[in-house]
């Protein structure tokens, strides 16, 4: 009988970890459906980006107040998880507050610090809920988030509040039990925040308090394992993927568009046929029609997106009422990727479902509105480049489907024939210079 909680805990931990590992493996597999791209150069710069952008949340500080609030939740949540280490060890070995005898006074200080963080996390999560649901900031009420994404954001905040409250309740009941000299409840010294809650628990019997304390303990750890398994289905996955995404972010100037060596060679061989190899393979598909044609980094981007909407809030097209929303581009890419992933789970390999990212998930009208201004890329706190995906889809539209607005076809033909996007005579290119001479 004595070992039942320990066995229960081990089953919980093993199941929670197994399911998480399985889903993580699927996400990894999905990301690797993308095309190869070597992003391993200059590790020094990449580590620097990881530390500044992911760990230091540099981009968030474009709005310092929000950055500090976000930092509190993030740091609080991470640091409090040190406490989970004790919980896990207690769970496995059937002990209670394993670290107390080892750390002594430091333990009291540490738990007090964790309680402070828990209280601030609760406070900030409430502020964030208010921002999303009562103040209704524009980027949070956007139609991009209709349905699941909006609930997802609220579930995350509510879960964090619940987890932190359970932690405080557990300590509060523990404190009251300590005061009564209950067995197993060693004296820890006073905890400031849970002491504030203690009056709520004074009226209960020892048995009821032990029940509350144990229930809070179990719900807290079950909650953590549940949350861990919720992450891969949620925008909250960014707490993990922001790190690799910052590391693998493009290091070139934002203005540089990815070259297409296949097209470069085609043109070179057309101009200098003597260079063309006899057995030159025909170029693969131009641009991207589906997620398989994008780079793995584009797909990692999609999974890293936390749907904050800073990209869309800075997008000139979106700001002026156009259909394009860079956030929606990322969400659509992830949706398509998840659909493809489910398809693969079902059929072992991808079975054509007659759909593609272009057209079925992202429309031509959205793509056409982009000014390639890089505001979305600049705004993203987790190093996502929505413009990369937009460009690849545009390439597919033009080069695979010859799908261009009439004016663009005119522009192309002017560039080709008159060497300028307008229909001017090439001979008049230096007319201004002649005017200056006279």
């Amino acid at each position: 009988m004595h070992y039942i909680p320990q066995i229960g805990f081990l089953i919980l931990a093993a199941t929670g970890s197994f399911l998480f590992a399985k889903k993580t493996g699927e996400i990894r597999r999905n990301i690797l459906l993308g095309k190869d791209e070597d992003l391993s150069n200059d590790p020094g710069k990449r580590w620097n980006n990881l530390i500044l952008l992911a760990l230091g949340q540099k981009k968030m500080f474009k709005n310092p107040l929000v950055a500090i609030l976000h930092l509190v939740v993030y740091a609080g949540f991470i640091i409090i998880n040190v406490e989970v280490l004790e919980i896990v060890l207690d769970g496995i070995s059937g002990t209670h507050r394993l670290f107390l005898p080892v750390l002594g006074g430091v333990y009291t200080w540490l738990i007090n610090f964790f309680e402070f963080l828990a209280a601030t996390v609760i406070l900030v999560c409430i502020i964030f809920l208010i921002r999303r649901n009562i103040i209704q900031l524009k980027r949070f009420i956007s139609k991009d988030l209709n349905g699941w994404p909006r609930s997802d954001a609220n579930y995350i905040l509510l879960t964090e509040i619940v987890l932190m409250s359970l932690f405080l309740c557990m300590n509060a009941a523990d404190q009251v039990l300590q005061g009564r000299g209950a067995e197993h409840y060693h004296t820890t010294g006073a905890f400031f925040f849970s002491d504030l809650l203690a009056p709520l628990f004074n009226g209960f019997s020892d048995g009821a308090l032990v029940g509350i304390e144990r229930t809070a303990w179990w719900l807290h750890i079950i909650g953590i394992f549940a949350f861990l398994n919720y992450l891969p289905y949620s925008k909250h996955l960014h707490i993990m993927l922001a790190f690799p995404n910052a590391y693998y972010a493009r290091l070139e100037p934002q203005g540089k568009i990815k070259n297409m060596p296949a097209v470069q060679n085609e043109v070179r061989y057309a101009m200098q046929p003597e260079l063309a190899p006899a057995d030159a393979p025909p170029p693969a598909r131009f641009g991207a029609k589906d997620i398989f044609d994008l780079s793995w980094k584009n797909l990692l981007d999609a999974y890293s997106c936390t749907e904050c909407g800073r990209c869309t809030a800075s997008c000139p097209a979106n700001l002026t009422g156009k259909l394009l929303s860079p956030r929606k581009i990322m969400m659509a890419t992830r949706d398509r990727l998840e659909d493809v992933g489910r398809n693969i789970n079902l059929h072992k390999t991808f079975k054509d479902d007659g759909k593609s990212l272009l057209h079925n998930y992202i429309s031509v009208e959205e793509l056409r509105a982009c000014t390639t201004c890089n505001a979305c890329v600049e705004a993203c706190p987790v190093s996502i480049a929505p413009l990369d995906i937009i460009m690849e889809l545009r390439r597919s539209l033009i080069m695979e489907e010859s799908n261009a607005p009439q004016e663009w076809n005119g522009t192309f033909s002017n560039i080709e024939n008159n060497f300028a996007p307008w229909k001017f005579a090439p001979d008049e290119r230096d007319k201004w210079a002649e005017e200056m001479a006279s």
Binding site: P253, Q254, G255, K256, I257, N259, M260, V263, Q264, V267, F286, G287, S314, P316, A317, L319, T320, G321, K322, L323, L324, E365, R368, A369, T371, T372, C373, N374, A375, E378, A379, R394, R395, S396, L397, I398, M399, A404, P405, E407, W408, G410, T411, F412, I415, E416, F419, A420, P421, W422, F424, D427, E428, R429, D430, W432, A433, E435, M436, A437
Partner: protein, 259 residues
């Protein structure tokens, strides 16, 4: 003033210090031609030996590439690089941020590696070196000027300071728009939008940007890109403010303020 082409310089056995890449807007657009002429006049005045490609210059391919037409981009790049390498060009200056970005960032891996400067960077250098001498109490002294960041200069290439330093050198009062520097709002022309109608929406991007510039109360809006210039000028006209507010290129401001 005689503007030499590379072909003429070659024939005379001379090499220019720098090639002035004029760009299509600067060559053909009537408004942008004024910017081209102002910049050429500055180079002439400071005695910098420069040349243009003249009729041998062609579109860099920027709008084609961004529209998605990589074939056309590669064709233009191939031709231009042949010409540039043929003349052994080492250093290029251009008044167009789109040409600047393409020449600087996209041509090297296609075989065209040059030192490429945007004209605001070169102008700032010339001011710092004392080669450009500005009038005491010039036309812009104490005047409120708001500078519009071109996406292809700012975010695309991290050039935010050179244009601002030039405006400070004019003794102007620089007033920033709410969205400036890395948060700057696009004028609406990039990504080949210049060459097509807007997608359905509720406002034109250039009007949104012009409104923001007008809000600063500045009498001058400084631009450093011929496309931004056109877009913002149109926006200002749309608000019927063209008599109170002038949209000028930084080169034009310098040319008007030189001793």
């Amino acid at each position: 003033m005689k503007i030499n082409t590379m072909a003429e310089m070659m024939a005379a056995g001379e090499t220019p210090e720098v090639l002035f890449w004029v760009g299509c807007a600067g060559s053909f657009d009537q408004r942008a031609q004024k910017i081209t002429k102002a910049f050429a006049a500055i180079l002439d005045k400071v005695g910098m030996k420069f040349a243009i490609l003249g009729k041998e210059e062609a579109c860099t391919g920027d709008p084609a590439r961004r529209a998605g037409n990589e074939f056309l981009f590669q064709m233009m790049a191939y031709q231009n690089i042949q010409v540039l390498n043929g003349y052994g060009i080492k250093k290029i200056v251009t008044t167009c941020p789109h040409c600047f970005n393409t020449l600087k960032n996209e041509y090297p891996e296609l075989g065209g590696a040059y030192e490429v400067l945007h004209h605001t960077t070169l102008l700032q250098q010339l001011i710092d070196e004392g080669k450009i001498k500005l009038k005491e109490g010039g036309a812009f002294k104490g005047k409120k000027i708001s500078y519009h960041d071109s996406c292809y200069l700012g975010r695309a290439n991290d050039i935010y300071e050179a244009p601002r330093k030039i405006l400070e050198a004019l003794d102007a009062e620089l007033v920033e728009m709410k969205r400036c520097k890395s948060n700057g709002l696009c004028c609406g022309a990039g990504g080949a939008q210049m060459f097509k109608e807007d997608e359905p929406g509720n406002k034109r991007i250039n009007i949104e940007r012009a409104d923001e510039a007008l809000e600063t109360g500045a009498g001058f809006i400084a631009a450093a890109c011929p496309f931004c210039n056109t877009m913002i000028t149109d926006g200002v006209k749309n608000r019927e403010k063209e008599n109170e507010v002038a949209v000028l290129d930084i080169a034009e401001m310098i040319a008007a303020s030189m001793q």
